[in-house]
């Protein structure tokens, strides 16, 4: 045995018994500073956790909305072209064509603030001040008649108290109960039905994009 291997063996014998790391901490990464966390921690929860200090009124929000949001969402939140509709649709969720808007569908006002803060305006995200976001949130709520006074001020203390119309419209995934019959069935394999009739065809709609190259049937 070479000197080197001998030495390696001795080291292994000595080192191995004390090798296990302490308490699962490997020692990777560094501690995040309070300043770093504050800068990145932009989320807001329904209970108001994370709502930054600030305030804004419906009236202030209207001015901002017309300047920065109406191009896509429309003057009254009606949605231009295919951009999202923000207002209306109350009571339409059972309809054949429901309108799922902030007012008719969103369960929490905090979500409006959280989403504007992180993602709006589209293409210029994280450019608004917290006061501006409170004002815009207040205006979107007013478009949906959830707040009615144009002087209403939304702030970090009252955000969590806003009651959204569809707050109770959600329930946890229940597929394993309501769709239990999809499990453990033995499907028929032969002579299962007399006939199979065509009920609908995609080509009637003719909305498949034109193929630019390659095999094309339609």
């Amino acid at each position: 045995m070479s000197r080197f291997l001998e030495a390696a063996l001795v080291v292994a014998l000595v080192v191995l018994p004390v090798a296990p790391a302490s308490a699962g901490k490997i020692g990777i990464g560094r501690e995040a500073t309070a300043e770093e966390i504050k800068a990145w921690d932009i989320d807001v929860r329904p209970d108001g956790a994370g709502a930054p200090p600030g305030k804004g009124t419906v009236k202030q929000g209207e001015e901002l909305f017309q300047a920065q949001c109406a191009t896509c969402h429309g003057e009254f939140g009606e949605g231009k072209d295919r951009w999202p509709v923000l207002a209306g649709g109350l009571g339409s969720l059972k309809h054949d064509r429901p309108d799922k808007t902030v007012g008719s569908f969103w369960p929490e006002a905090s979500t409006v603030f959280d989403y504007i803060k992180r993602a709006m305006p589209f293409g210029n995200a994280q450019s608004l001040t917290d006061d501006q976001i409170y004002a815009l949130t207040a205006y979107v709520l007013s478009l949906n008649d959830i707040v009615k006074d144009p002087g209403f001020e939304l702030n970090n203390s009252n955000l969590a108290s806003i009651r959204m119309p569809n707050k109770d419209g959600f329930y946890d995934d229940d597929r394993e109960a309501t769709e239990k019959h999809f499990w453990n069935r033995t499907p028929c394999m032969a002579a299962c039905k007399a006939e199979a009739k065509i009920l609908g065809r995609a080509r009637v709609l003719d909305v498949t994009p034109d193929s630019k190259t390659g095999p094309k049937v339609d």
Partner: protein, 435 residues
């Protein structure tokens, strides 16, 4: 015209040009018989050339090909230029908050090539520098931490193959057959081998507080994509991945770091992941309230429907991959389940009157695409082809009607109903619904 997530897409009026094109293609299809293929009868620039066929000697057998320095990063053959992701322009308001589709009809086996994995962005594909990218973990932890990409790669690494399916895959089909092509009806799925580190190991490094229950995971893109993830799932099998199919993640798949949430809806697989906040309650972000909740017929909505149920689709023949010759043919497709492995796939060619078990070939892995085949003889008769997946929990893929009976037609997401293709006597194939 509505946003993709609306599910109530209206369609442009049928154009006369579309009708004429269709009629013409139909005529050509009928003319193709025997050993001649549809492609042979139509493709001019890159079609068959008798000069290259026996007994002639083609040019490529005589002259030198490209040298090794000509293509430092290889691309598919020019004859495969049509194998691309495609989008449906009328679906969404912008190309940055939009989706394109994997060309399932052109693929085989179970792995999706990186450049063909469908894309779904909410603020465009962010171009993130790996030198500056950081992952922050904070909230209910013993010690908030920041990791560089080099740091992340020092945790123990794992290789796992998983499908990623957008919850809205097949979402356009709730009200009936709408799009002709499995690329469009089922192409918001891909299957990739990820290399990454366990989310559990990274969380343990920060140390979880006893009251930790949920994570908020957040992307560094301009949508700041955020979702709430139950801690139980995070500790079970989630990965922070930096490689896909052996190479670095593609920009559009979250380079340099993405979350992998096996078997669960794609929206949770946050790309460009920059922050994990540990909390005791869900956040109810936009993408888990106004989107990715399932509106039922009674006007109430299911939430936290994370899991993707068993599903399958025949990819050939399909509208973009018609049958070309009579005689022996191959029916092929893919099946998957977010609950476990695919244990069996049944296929019918007569609209569900009779079924046979397909032959599964290739790896059968949990929460992964599984490839199936039926080798059959076609004499030019009309076919109504369907496939039906079974998974290791005993779940059997339902029909679309069975789903509609429970959920109505406005739920947008989680449409895993059985797909039907009508193969006409010409070989042309179209998307239909049957009784």
């Amino acid at each position: 015209m509505k946003h993709i997530d609306n599910g109530n897409m209206e369609h442009p009026a049928t154009s006369r040009r579309g009708f004429l094109t269709r009629t013409l293609a139909g005529g050509l299809a009928v003319a193709a018989t025997g050993g001649e293929t549809l492609a042979q009868s139509r493709k001019k620039p890159l079609g068959p050339n008798p000069d290259n066929q026996p007994p002639n000697i083609p040019d490529w057998s005589k002259v030198l090909g490209d040298g090794v320095a000509d293509h430092p990063y290889g691309k598919p053959s020019k004859y495969e230029a049509h194998v691309v992701r495609r989008d449906v322009e009328w679906l969404t308001a912008s190309r940055q908050s939009s989706v394109n589709f994997t060309p399932l009809h052109e693929l085989d086996g179970i792995i999706t090539p990186n450049g063909l994995c469908f894309e779904r962005h909410h603020g465009g594909a962010a171009e993130v520098s790996p030198f500056d990218h950081r992952l922050m973990i904070h909230g209910l932890v013993d010690k908030p931490l920041i990791f560089s990409m080099d740091d992340i790669k020092r945790f123990p690494r794992y290789n796992r193959i998983f499908f990623l399916e957008c919850a809205a895959n097949s979402g356009m089909e709730w009200r009936g057959a709408q799009l002709n092509g499995c690329q469009f009806t089922h192409g918001m799925v891909h299957n990739v081998m990820y290399t990454g580190v366990r989310l559990k190991d990274v969380l343990d490094e920060a140390g979880l507080k006893p009251n930790a229950k949920w994570l908020q995971v957040e992307g560094a893109d301009s949508a700041g994509m955020n979702r709430s993830l139950p801690l139980e799932k995070a500790l079970d099998d989630c990965l922070l991945a930096f490689k896909m199919n052996g190479e670095a993640l593609r920009t559009e798949q979250g380079y340099p770091l993405r979350l992998v949430v096996p078997g669960w809806e794609g929206n949770l697989w946050v790309k460009w992941i920059r922050r994990i906040e540990v909390g005791d309650k869900p956040w109810l972000a936009r993408e888990e309230t106004s989107k990715y909740t399932d509106l039922m017929a009674d006007g109430r909505s299911r939430r936290y429907t994370f899991l993707m149920d068993a599903k399958s689709v025949v990819t050939g023949p399909s509208p973009q991959a018609p049958l070309k010759v009579k005689g022996r043919n191959v029916i092929t497709g893919v099946a998957w389940s977010g609950r476990g492995t695919v244990t069996r796939v049944d296929v019918t060619t007569d609209g569900g009157r009779n079924w046979q078990q397909a032959r599964i070939d290739g790896p059968v892995l949990g929460k992964s695409l599984t490839r199936f085949y039926v080798d059959f003889d076609w004499q030019g008769q009309e076919l109504l082809i369907q496939s039906r997946a079974h998974d290791s929990t005993g779940y059997v893929q339902p029909t679309k009607e069975e789903l509609r009976a429970i959920r109505g037609v406005n739920s947008i997401y989680h449409n895993n109903g059985i797909q039907t293709w009508l193969v006409r006597s010409s070989g042309e194939t179209e998307n239909v619904e049957i009784s």
